[in-house]
């Protein structure tokens, strides 16, 4: 497939071919290439853990709420902000590392995400399917225990990886004028906001979500069912405490 076509039709794969394992050496080679993506100051404050052992994948699954994309994947790749390596190198060299704060955290999340996305693109161009599991920042502590993460290492992103069992469906996006601004930020009017979301709201899947959950509209599905404030605040507290325990105070 030409890369132009790949990028504009990119799709998430949540069901994987159960009879086709993924060669860990292939994944390592892809991660090596992905590490050529940019990162802050070339400090490479990230790590990727490639888990293909069925027993360890089973230990990880509850941290991802046993979602099928997690339990059915040939490999689970956990991308972490990693200050352990850099901090220890500094200390071995009589140098005081100072990344255990909000700047270090933000750079680390940016660099870990860039690394993960570059891997995702390379893997998909090689015919693999991937799915970001949105559960990593909820259950970082459990993941850390299973993967034996030392001080300074913080799970940020998890990718499920495997050969696709189904072609997958393209996910709709807001019209480009909602997210891309010319020269300076364009603050939309209320009518423009309504227009940006009109197509999304009119999709049959959206209408089903609203109906099944007994809500008035799609926005309430997001705020009351999928990402309620109470849960976000609870998990913010849990993640902040975990970060502190791993040596990062934001």
């Amino acid at each position: 497939m030409h890369s132009n076509e790949y990028f504009s039709t990119r799709r998430t794969i949540r069901q994987y071919d159960q009879n086709r394992p993924v060669d860990p050496t292939l994944l390592t080679g892809m991660l090596k290439a992905a590490a050529q993506a940019p990162n802050t100051g070339n400090m490479q404050i990230y790590s990727a853990i490639v888990t293909t052992d069925p027993a360890i994948k089973r230990e990880l699954a509850p941290a991802h709420f046993n979602q099928p994309a997690a339990t059915g994947a040939a490999a689970i790749v956990t991308f972490c902000l990693d200050l352990n390596r850099f901090n220890r190198w500094c200390r071995l060299n009589n140098a005081d590392p100072g990344l255990d704060n909000l700047q270090g955290f933000t750079w680390g999340v940016i660099d870990t995400s860039i690394f993960a996305q570059q891997f995702c693109t390379i893997a998909e161009l090689h015919g693999l399917g991937t799915c970001y599991l949105g559960t990593t920042t909820y259950n970082a502590e459990t993941i850390a225990k299973v993967l034996e993460l030392p001080m300074g290492v913080i799970p940020v992103i998890t990718l499920a990886v495997g050969y696709p069992a189904v072609p997958g469906e393209m996910s709709e996006r807001l019209p480009v004028e909602a997210t891309v601004h010319a020269e300076r930020y364009h603050t939309p009017t209320d009518d423009e906001i309504r227009e940006y979301y009109a197509e999304k709201e009119s999709l049959p899947a959206s209408k089903s979500f609203v109906e099944e959950n007994g809500k008035e509209n799609l926005a309430q599905v997001f705020t009351d069912i999928r990402y309620p404030r109470e849960a976000n605040e609870k998990f913010s507290h849990v993640y902040r405490a975990f970060l502190k325990n791993q040596g990062v105070e934001i």
Copy 2:
């Protein structure tokens, strides 16, 4: 160029052809394709602002410490965590958005970074050169003023974009065994840490940095000159205060 070769030889471009502008329509098209990259819950809590107007680029330059990659680029693309659109859509729909906390911030930084990196890859495969400007989280408030960012919009990443004036050089990376782990995390021994950094330390550029700055070793160049604790802590405070002012308390 075949994409395999591109990914494993990817290079940053800091000098751009001053006689070759970049078509904003082309950039918008690339950003549209980049938005097909994954994001948390398909909430798309990000925006990209494409600045090509020389007067506005001059206003932005001090926020990037007037580095040549910023002043010489045909376009400056500022990628922001954007809760403004989502929050307003929710409020227009009698829904209470709850992303103004650490979870929302972390998802936003992840999704903004994925979006930026996908754009970076697409642009580079089209022959453009790019450079991440590591200054965005230092001077977010100045950037917000120039770009007229409303409540809820937070600069995370800035990319300089233009046609390359020079081929650029590949940046060295740590050996793959430093950043990629099999099954569970491998906590390195001190000797392994030293081995991981040995090649980086032996580079002529590294040796020059150490000598020019009168330091004992490369780690001290990072901790005393490039990313000193004092500056990181100061800018953490500044960024946290800016986030709060934009409605996000982490």
